[in-house]
């Protein structure tokens, strides 16, 4: 028996070591695309990343970041931390499987050598399959939170099995308290860990109940679902809500410094919970204990909702219920009641303590770090941050369909969109607000648009109007109810048909479950067609078994992606093993069936339950398999059981040791085959493209004048931030994300200096950039003007102003040039009358000082004259959002001193059309005052040449053997394209020598042949250019030779 423990531990460490080696060998040496650079920045520099934040991950990553010898190694160390967490996760999986198997195979806890070997083999096979599985491996070698989150899930599940071993002794309860701490802490990594709670509940029930039955099980399920909901929708936002009330009272009411109320609330909560723990441990004074329990519970804010009435109802009900339960419990079974009260209070305290990692976010956000998303520097903002409110709300139980129009309401003579007002939004008082002491100012209320109530349905699965075409593709034309409504655009009543309940269900089954979950599940245990993003066709990103007839039957083209690294097929062996394991487990008596319920519940909660909660829309920007890693973890447990089932089956025909050996070897082939398939497309070594792209974007800009770089998507913004914040590349560059700029909070942050870069040169005063003001500005609106007959006539504002200026040339009511930005800001946008705040023209004038332009380094191609005025045209635009407004404001405010650039991957046109004012320099467009016609050369050849030849780094693309996933292929293609275009333009410009050098550089730096560029095409272009250059050079030589000949003659 003792030897079992030794072997179990040793094998566990062996698994840990193997996993660490595998993940270290395949680790990405720097940051990876998508959120990784942002998470690494938030960890290494303790800055505030995107909602809902990951404070514990920040602390852990920060610890590892200090192991780096220089800043360029920080990303490696944080990636490596994740490799360790993943290895530890696999190790706990091993111990979980062996613990479960041991309870099935040797209930008397005495095993002979064969039994020991069989149990360990089961654990090993399951752990190895998970180690080498697609999704888990992906997260293990990059700087995201999912590896750490998986570790917490594994540790939690393992801990509850520990409890099960020691229960029902009261001392075993320490494991439950420990689990509460883990769940609390893991909120600071990812909320996924909350989903373990139902499985934990079931373990407890099966262990403690003398006669478990279906009624009890359903009771436990309901109770644990209630606990998940109470934490997720009650405690997490509620604690911030209540802290916000304390904060408001302390700061606005009593004039105390910021954070006093929040701290006060938190300390009071800690004290009450501690009091409850002490009183319940003494088990003597019922009334004080009950009072402490109740007030502690209420102080967590668990019972608070947005509306006061609901909050009171829930609070009163909860109080009465708690009182009744305690009273009844004390009457019937006092000891048990005290024990439950005590353990619950301890657990709640641990949960709160774990959750308090969010103080890190609160403290850092208050100090204005360079990255400070949503600036959650007070409990109100932190609550929105935690609730990810800026991403919008998805309806879960009841709400709109994608067809649903917004509800209208009559207000006087006009129709308005109906809105629902929510909680007030507060922010800290600024100097302009005129408060001498700390103060929170209400700047408006959260508002949500309301959808036409008649078109709202229960359980809406297709809810976002932006994806109407895709919804139709997945679920067909709407065939539900038809509703007649007034359409404000056409001014008449129109019929609207909403999708039927069956169609919502069809979408749930086909897309949300089938495509967004089952497909990922099968990727891991059956195989994967290729590494291209799937959107539902037969060619990209499907599951693939590798068995031709099956794949053809499923409609997945086996030829697409054949022979590429992204093709991985396991012939469904891991799936089969798991199903056999599940079957075998359920045949092991009541114990086995109960185990299968527990593992099954974990499988469901971390898989299908997430699908229901996410309510995903079609056209996701990337594959989302990483969310479901927990579910694949649960299935891996069954694959381990499958190995044991096979060994047990063989032992019927073979002798014990032989059966074990044969079974082990056969099942070991499964994870090894997976490793062989997956290695090449999970090996990220040698690839630094993400890091280098961030550096390249920054290095594209000129070195003088503190350039501003506008960025837009995840894959230019985050690498650019990472380059500046973590590696300190070009600290003079100020990055500004155009999408975030539409929010007032981010716009305010752009007025702060960052490292060497001064604030952005806005001319619009700060109070006009806040949320709620100028969110949405009309462009050249029509007004009603009486014509000669006195009849009102619709005229555009611009025409009217022009008429006024014509009639009275002297008066000039709106400044010298009414369409100059300065005057638009002065007379219109900052007008005291909100109705006046618009842009009264569709052509904005910005003065240009030629001397400044010449001084600032703006390239002026020969033959181009710099005009006196730059004209920004807003034709066909009815309005601008804040981003467009501030872009124009910055162009004016820069006065051509401060260089403005935008990455070539950003779509500026979404906000304003500047396509005729852009000159490419490297990977960025520079905004220039003169017009660049489509026929002109839109590229600064000298600077781009300098970038391509000297400034850029190529992310390891010179090594043809490294693996590039789809994002990396796109980025590599971007670089290759730039080189080819540059060579072409140089050739056209007659600079053949330079063109040749660029081509040589291209051949030398980009030797990967898998770029999305259609590499053959690129190679053909390069060869063609070479020929052209050669011809020209030969021509020159011939001419020279001819000349020489002529002179000789």
């Amino acid at each position: 028996m003792q030897s079992y423990h030794i072997y179990n531990r040793l094998t566990g460490f062996g698994v840990f070591l193997t996993a660490t080696i595998v993940y270290t060998l395949t680790l990405e040496p720097s940051s990876s695309f998508w959120d990784c650079p942002e998470f690494i920045t938030s960890a290494a520099r303790l800055e505030v990343g995107h909602p809902p934040g990951a404070p514990l991950f920040m602390l852990l990553g920060n610890l590892f970041s200090h192991l780096a010898s220089d800043p360029s190694k920080i990303a490696w160390w944080i990636n490596w931390m994740n490799a360790l967490f993943s290895a530890a996760c696999v190790t706990f999986l091993f111990w979980t499987i062996t613990a479960l198997l041991r309870k099935l195979l040797t209930p008397r806890q005495y095993e002979d050598r064969i039994q020991t070997a069989t149990i360990l083999t089961g654990g090993l096979i399951g752990a190895l399959i998970y180690l080498f599985s697609d999704t888990f491996w992906y997260s293990a070698v990059e700087g995201e939170v999912y590896s750490c989150s998986s570790f917490f899930t594994a540790l939690t599940f393992w801990s509850v099995l520990k409890w099960e071993t020691y229960a029902p002794a009261p001392s075993a309860d320490r494991w439950l308290i420990f689990i509460a701490l883990l769940i609390g802490l893991s909120i600071g990594v990812h909320l996924l860990n909350l989903l373990c709670i139902p499985a934990i509940g079931l373990v407890i029930y099966y262990r403690l109940s003398s006669r478990p039955n279906g009624k009890g099980v359903s009771g436990v399920l309901i109770l644990s679902a209630l606990i998940v909901a109470l934490v997720l929708f009650g405690l997490l936002p509620g604690m911030m809500r209540l802290a916000g009330k304390f904060e408001l009272m302390a700061v606005n009411g009593l004039g105390l410094p910021y954070h006093t109320g929040t701290c006060l609330h938190f300390l009071l909560l800690l004290m009450l919970l501690t009091l409850c723990i002490i009183l319940s441990a003494r088990s003597r004074h019922r009334l004080p204990a009950a009072a402490a329990a109740l007030s502690g519970l209420l102080l967590t804010g668990m019972t608070l909702r947005e509306s006061a009435a609901t909050s009171w109802t829930i609070t009163l009900t909860a109080s009465v219920l708690l009182g009744y339960l305690l009273h009844r419990g004390w009457h019937r079974a006092p000891a048990t009641t005290w024990r439950i009260l005590h353990t619950s209070a301890c657990a709640l305290l641990m949960l709160v303590i774990g959750y308090s990692t969010y103080a890190v976010i609160l403290i850092r956000a208050s100090d204005n770090p360079p990255m400070n998303q949503q600036a959650p520097d007070n409990p109100f903002a932190l609550q929105s941050y935690l609730g990810r409110e800026q991403y919008g709300e998805k309806p879960l139980l009841y709400g709109q369909t994608y067809i649903s129009p917004l509800a209208l309401k009559q207000e006087g003579n006009t129709l308005r969109y109906e809105t629902k007002e929510g909680a007030p939004i507060y922010r800290r008082a600024q100097p302009a607000d005129g408060h001498s002491r700390p103060h929170y100012v209400e700047i408006g209320r959260k508002t949500d648009y309301v959808y036409e109530p008649e078109t709202c349905v229960w359980f809406p699965r297709m809810h976002d109007a932006r994806y109407a075409a895709e919804y139709r593709w997945w679920a067909g034309e709407p065939t539900g109810r038809t509703i007649s409504r007034y359409d404000p655009q056409t001014g008449s009543r129109q019929n609207v048909t909403i999708p039927s309940a069956g169609q919502h269900l069809r979408f749930l089954l086909r897309y949300q479950i089938g495509f967004m979950y089952v497909r990922y599940f099968l990727w891991n245990f059956v195989g994967r067609q290729n590494d291209q993003q799937g959107h539902g066709d037969s060619l990209k990103g499907n599951w693939l078994s590798g068995i031709g007839p099956i794949d053809r039957l499923a409609g997945h083209d086996p030829d697409s992606g054949a022979g590429t690294k992204g093709r991985n097929v396991y012939y469904a062996f891991p799936l089969l093993l798991g199903l056999i394991g599940l079957y075998w487990q359920r045949r092991q008596g009541a114990r086995g069936r109960r185990q299968s319920h527990i593992v099954g519940l974990l499988f469901f909660m971390t898989g299908l339950a997430i699908v229901l909660y996410l309510n995903d829309t079609p056209r996701q920007p990337r594959e989302r398999d990483y969310v479901f890693a927990g579910s694949f973890y649960a299935f891996a447990i069954w694959t381990g059981m499958g190995a044991v089932a096979l060994i047990r089956l063989l032992s019927r025909y073979l002798q014990g040791p032989k059966a074990w050996l044969a079974g082990s070897l056969v099942t070991l082939a499964v994870p090894l085959q997976m490793a062989g398939q997956n290695w090449d497309d999970h090996d990220r070594s040698g690839r630094t493209l993400c890091r280098d792209m961030g550096a390249n974007f920054r290095n594209s800009l000129q070195r003088e004048g503190h350039p501003v770089l506008f960025v837009m998507g995840d894959n230019d913004t985050f690498p650019v931030w990472y380059g500046g914040e973590v590696e300190g590349i070009r600290p003079d560059v100020r990055a500004c994300n155009l999408m975030y700029l539409s929010g007032g909070v981010y716009a305010a942050q752009m007025r702060l200096p960052v490292r060497e870069a001064p604030p952005l040169p806005f001319t619009l005063p700060e109070q006009f950039c806040q949320d709620g003001i100028l969110d949405f500005v009309r462009v050249n609106p029509s007004i009603l003007v009486p014509d000669a007959d006195g009849q009102p006539r619709e005229v555009s504002l611009k025409t009217q102003i022009e008429a006024i200026y014509r009639q009275n040339p002297e008066k000039k009511p709106f400044g010298e040039d009414p369409f100059e930005w300065k005057n638009i800001v002065r007379y219109w946008l900052t007008s005291d009358d909100p109705a006046m705040r618009c842009i009264p023209t569709d052509e904005i004038h910005i003065p240009v000082d030629r001397e400044t332009v010449a001084r600032s380094g703006i390239p002026v191609p020969p033959g181009t004259t710099v005009p006196d005025t730059m004209v920004i045209r807003l034709k066909d635009r009815s309005h601008l959002i804040r981003t467009g407004l501030l872009l124009i404001d910055l162009i004016a405010g820069s006065q051509w001193e401060r260089p403005l650039y935008v990455t070539i991957t950003s779509g500026l046109n979404e906000y304003i059309d500047l396509s005729e004012h852009l000159i490419q320099e490297g990977l960025a467009y520079r905004i220039v005052p003169y017009e660049v016609k489509p026929t002109d050369l839109g590229m600064d050849l000298d600077r781009t040449y300098d970038c391509v030849m000297n400034r850029f780094e190529y992310g390891g693309l010179d090594n043809p053997d490294i693996y590039l996933d789809e994002t990396n292929r796109n980025m590599g293609a971007l670089l290759q394209n730039l080189q080819i275009v540059l060579a072409m333009e140089l050739y056209r410009d007659g600079q053949t020598e330079r063109a040749r050098k660029v081509l040589e550089k291209s051949q030398e730096t980009i030797r990967c042949r898998e770029l999305n560029n259609d590499d053959r095409h690129a190679q053909a272009q390069i060869a063609h250019l070479y020929r052209l250059i050669e011809q020209q050079e030969n021509g020159k030589k011939e001419k020279e030779q001819n000349k020489r000949k002529e002179t000789k003659i």
Binding site: N62, L181, L182, A281, P334, R364, P370, P753, R755
Partner: protein
């Protein structure tokens, strides 16, 4: 009824002993110290604050905070001797063997 109550009182209902509580309290005080070490001056509209990234705030503070949380976890699981806590631990030991 009263008799059972008396019996209950003899045994502590807590799975944790004094040492555990002590470790948890020390752990949380450490966490709070970490939070305090994290605070300091911030960037203003005219001045970028390099102290935001000082050793105290971005190396010591997070390490202290983490050490505190680790201590709490350790404190919860720290096995207590049977003499310290009558009810729980003895049986724990037996189960472990």
């Amino acid at each position: 009824m009263k008799e059972t109550d008396k019996k209950d009182r003899k045994q502590s209902v807590s799975p944790l002993a004094r040492t555990n509580y002590l470790l948890i309290v020390i752990g949380y005080l450490t966490v709070l110290t970490g939070f305090l070490l994290l605070t300091g001056p911030g960037t203003t509209s005219t001045h970028f604050e390099p102290d935001l990234f000082s050793v105290r705030r971005t190396a010591v503070a997070p390490a202290v905070t983490l050490a505190g949380f680790f201590l709490i976890g350790f404190g919860v699981l720290y096995p207590v001797r049977p003499s310290e806590n009558e009810s729980g631990t003895g049986s724990t030991r037996q189960h472990q063997s």
